[in-house]
Symmetry: C2
Subunit: 190 residues, 2 copies
Amino acid sequence: MSARRSELTRAAARLFAEKGYHGTSVGDLAKALGVQKGSLYAHIESKADLLWEVASEGAAAFHAALDSVPEDAAPVDRIRDALRAHLRVVAEQLDVATVFVREWRYLEGERRDAFVAERRRYEERFRALFREGRELGQLRTDLDDGTAALLALSAANWAYTWLRPGSDTDALADRFTALLVDGMRGYATR
Amino acid sequence: MSARRSELTRAAARLFAEKGYHGTSVGDLAKALGVQKGSLYAHIESKADLLWEVASEGAAAFHAALDSVPEDAAPVDRIRDALRAHLRVVAEQLDVATVFVREWRYLEGERRDAFVAERRRYEERFRALFREGRELGQLRTDLDDGTAALLALSAANWAYTWLRPGSDTDALADRFTALLVDGMRGYATR
DNA sequence: CCGCCTTCCGAACGATCGTTAGCCTCCAAG
DNA sequence: CTTGGAGGCTAACGATCGTTCGGAAGGCGG
């Protein structure tokens, strides 16, 4: 992919995140590149292509982040690492993450279906961390792991609204993990 | 406000939630009422009025929900009640809640400023529950109440994406609260 | 019965939308 | 030296956007 084309994708991510997909016109994208809007069609077939591309980039980034979590570590450590990895993606690729979380729903047809499947798969991988943690006995055996995963995923998915680039996302993820593990009333058990 | 006008506001909430503010045309709104689009201007001055109205309705609903939390109850109970109240609003007014959480950012000018102030005030009221819980000693004294509030608010604000009308929101809120209080590893202390 | 108010229609407004077309320029590979 | 592709231009397309306007029903209070 040409350098110009990459610039276009980056501009699309930024503008879609800032003004929304339907709030961003092809003219806006052209202006961001300093070009007439008709010229963009040397690079794309339609505006929808850009949304698909940015959304796919987001899916790839989050899956790659989860891939970095070691499979043989202790469950609590894996949960902490998964949260670290997720928040790092959000902070380092905020525009892409925003499109991944909020703007994907303007995808249409089979692209939408394909994206939803990838998104569901990501959340399922996340959920599995909690289920395995309970099954392996490192988390309380009566844990409601579905609720725990939902709570963690809520924090992860909501992060794009408040997380700013440059934040110490590892520390943030560790605070979330500590709270999830020990709670607000319990006392440290280690 | 006339009955017809209320119908229009409800249709706007539904369509803005389903297709987004910029993805909803005045023609779409007119079709929902079975009317020509020009006819809507007997009720409103602009499309932006409807967004403002729905967003304001959401702010009022969430603040009213927090008002229902008794001030003299124990901190943990107040947190549980606040979560219950919030999730109940989401489930019972899903469209309005969706606009309140996601579509408000297309407000412009002083309306946007006013909304942001109301939203910040709501989150601040929520945060105070955790801070007071720590200060009053019912939560661990070394609690990171900012992180705890962020976690709870994330769950609350993300709920519109998965919560369906008719869910048992009280039970849901109780599960969230139990997890926040006791954690995934701790054992019940009562 | 009159006049007003609400509600809607049908038509049109200018602006902007996403997209296409034909033409031009530049540069690198053959 | 030629040629072809990449990238950009200007102009225009039909569609749709949010909004305005004049007129006309219909009901309701005076």
